[in-house]
Symmetry: C2
Subunit: 121 residues, 2 copies
């Protein structure tokens, strides 16, 4: 039995690129992914799944067509499926996401930010 825990700070220390999620754990058919984000992402939605954001360090906003969720370290938000959203971070923010394996980061929007293969770290 492998008994080393996953340390978030340690994992975030292993890469610097932004908007580039990395898988840190798999639970059944779900992935736990971390990402460094700064600036504005693209508007998108996930027609097939809810998505959870947990802020590990820093602050972020999740913009919706009719409001904005403001999150800081120690806070989480569940984005329901089919709801258009856009992650935003003024300063670099470190986040943990939970969603089904294979969920595209840009959802239905596609575009240059789309990552077809999310690497493990």
């Amino acid at each position: 039995m492998q008994t080393t825990p996953i340390n978030f700070t340690e994992k975030f220390g292993l890469f610097s690129e932004q908007w580039s999620p990395k898988i840190i754990a798999k639970m059944n058919d779900y992935h736990f992914k971390i990402a460094k984000i700064q600036g504005e992402f693209v508007w998108h939605s996930h027609p097939e799944t809810d998505e959870v954001f947990i802020v590990i360090a820093g602050e972020m906003q999740i913009a919706f067509r009719d409001g904005v969720a403001a999150l800081k370290a120690g806070e989480m938000f569940m984005v329901p499926k089919n709801i258009e959203h856009k992650p935003i971070a003024e300063q670099e923010c470190h986040i943990l996401m939970v969603e089904p394996a294979g969920t595209l980061n840009t959802g239905d929007a596609g575009g240059e930010h789309t990552l077809e293969e999310v690497p493990w770290i």
Copy 2:
């Protein structure tokens, strides 16, 4: 759209009982649950599902038949399905768990700690 984030510290301030998980979010058919733990839980396994532990505050151990995982705040561990484990915390520890809705806290072991209905908080 409801845009208030879930704040872990705030949620932990709403109850004091130990070994009594509360649901704070639902993502698809998965629950995010928080619990205050101290002492030793029962040995058990979940034949049908993996289970994720994230330590929000304090320290805990997850004992296995062939080893021990030691976790502190900012660390997570994925317990594979079918693997016997026993959560332990010397001092009170605040944890976040992710698992399918309906997963019993005592898994296949049953007993006095079993919570059939996990409340929302």
